[in-house]
């Protein structure tokens, strides 16, 4: 039976701003410019927006800051902050609010100038009582611990992790907007500076600036707007821990819960997904999510990615923008998954355009593998 929310709302506008380096731009300006670009892309006016959804690493009250900057008086707003996965959650919350008639045009937006502001991950995160004394580096230590466990239990190797970075770079080389382009080999990754065993600097996402935004309306209105709509077919979130030591099993993320529920709402199986946008903050993420979302058996993610499976021309299109590893990663990357998925669904991805793309998965990750939110977008052909 089809879920009542399936296909009820659609992304009708997308925009980015200052991706890469944006010297002289503040976070809220990047958020604002991306928002204007998304609204323009949708063919709407700023004054049409009456639903506001945002989260940043820099604003304690993100919807207040964004609404003031843009001059909006939103009828509905949601500043749920589950790290990088916030924006996949916002898609679901926006679809609910639109379906309930609580708003008519929803803006989801984000901005960060973390690269030019100092190059460190901006975080308002509170001190973790039972972690801070041991000087973990946030967030890489947590992901390195997960990688160590995966290698121990399943025989995953550094070469397999490196293959994820190499595949992402190969996609980035087809994307003129990607920040990190140029050749990258497994040997290059292995020879890179070790940061937190077993992760080298090349196993880590970029630190960039950037803003991103998207606009959603109800499906009936979406049909009349200028862009091909990307319908929200299903979405679900799951969260199992805050601090990495409290993750029930370091080799199994809550994506194993969010994914199946999102697929069920969408009425699809993993085999129907033509583009998997998986939040690749670190190379281990892609491997974990390929497993937990059902693209390969648990423990096989490392072997799955070997031989170019997720690179251009491979069996499964993953992170075709170049991902957080090679395209863009301004602190919280989740909205950029949506930007790329919508671009591919529209058939507007240029040299990296997939031959056939009607169903795209955006899988957001937040915290230290803590929050997982899966969202399935589809073209009109999937309704």
């Amino acid at each position: 039976m089809t879920h009542q929310l399936r296909g009820k709302a659609a992304v009708v506008g997308i925009g980015t701003a200052g991706t890469g380096e944006a010297p002289g731009w503040s976070a809220i300006e990047l958020l604002g410019q991306a928002s204007l670009n998304a609204i323009e892309d949708a063919g709407l006016k700023l004054s049409d927006i009456d639903g506001l959804f945002c989260a940043t690493s820099m604003h304690a009250f993100p919807t207040l800051s964004a609404a003031e900057y843009l001059g909006l008086k939103p009828r509905f707003f949601d500043g749920t902050n589950v790290g990088g996965s916030s924006f996949e959650a916002h898609l679901l919350h926006a679809a609910l609010a639109l379906d309930a008639g609580l708003c008519d045009a929803a803006l989801v937006c984000y901005g960060s100038n973390q690269r030019t502001a100092g190059g460190k991950l901006a975080s308002m995160s509170e001190k973790q009582l039972h972690e801070t004394p041991y000087r973990p580096r946030h967030p890489i230590t947590a992901y390195a611990l997960a990688a160590s466990r995966h290698m121990h239990v399943f025989g995953t190797t550094r070469e397999m992790l490196a293959e994820v970075a190499v595949s992402a770079r190969a996609w980035a080389n087809l994307n003129p907007a990607a920040f990190a382009r140029g050749p990258l080999t497994v040997a290059d990754v292995l020879a890179s500076r070790m940061v937190s065993d077993p992760l080298t600097v090349a196993d880590c996402c970029l630190v960039t600036d950037g803003g991103a935004a998207c606009v959603l309306v109800r499906a009936d209105r979406a049909r009349d707007l200028r862009q091909k709509p990307a319908y929200l077919l299903g979405a679900a979130g799951a969260q199992w821990h805050r601090a990495i030591a409290n993750m029930p099993d370091l080799t199994v993320t809550a994506a194993s819960d969010s994914g199946p529920r999102a697929f069920a709402m969408a009425g699809i199986t993993p085999g129907d997904v033509q583009l998997a946008m998986l939040y690749d903050a670190f190379t281990i993420n892609t491997i974990l999510f390929l497993e937990d979302l059902g693209f390969c058996p648990k423990g096989e993610g490392g072997r799955f990615v070997q031989g170019g499976t997720i690179a251009p021309g491979g069996k499964l299109a993953v992170n075709t923008s170049g991902g957080g590893l090679s395209c863009v990663h301004p602190g919280m990357y989740g909205l950029f998954l949506i930007i790329e998925a919508v671009t591919q669904l529209r058939g507007a991805a240029g040299a990296r355009q997939l031959a056939s793309c009607d169903i795209a998965l955006c899988h957001g990750n937040g915290g230290t593998l803590s929050s997982q939110v899966s969202a399935v977008l589809g073209s009109a052909a999937t309704l």
């Binding site: 004394p133 041991y134 466990r149 121990h152």
Partner: protein, 125 residues
């Protein structure tokens, strides 16, 4: 809720550490231990928690070494015999294998007593 007559579980845990004792909470009815200190067993909600001495024995569940200009230091997740896990470090070695047996010790970090671990006697590094 009544006015708390005694400190919360976190403060009580810290007070034990300051007196040289590593204590864990255990549910009387289920025998389950919990860490970090809580008001209940998470999820199932039992509040019949007693403070009991921790065995101090555990195994390395996951480990990494952070590397920076100022040096290298490991961070490990240790699984105690009691079934709970905690973040800590393994002292005296750069790293150690997952599965290695370790033993808890109270050490001062930044002026406060904290738990650290040493490789257990007879464990090959």
């Amino acid at each position: 809720m009544n006015e708390p007559a005694s400190p919360g579980p976190e403060a009580e845990f810290r007070a034990h550490l300051r007196q040289g004792r590593f204590m864990l909470q255990r549910s009387r009815s289920t025998g389950r231990h919990v860490f970090y200190p809580r008001l209940m067993i998470p999820g199932s909600g039992e509040t019949d928690l007693d403070w009991v001495p921790a065995s101090g024995n555990g195994r390395i569940y996951a480990i990494t070494v952070n590397r920076a200009r100022e040096g290298a230091w490991n961070i490990a997740i240790v699984e105690l015999e009691e079934g709970v896990r905690l973040l800590s470090r393994i002292e005296g070695v750069e790293t150690a294998p997952i599965g290695a047996r370790v033993r808890a010790r109270i050490a001062e970090i930044d002026g406060a007593p904290e738990l650290v671990f040493d490789l257990a006697e007879g464990t090959a590094p």
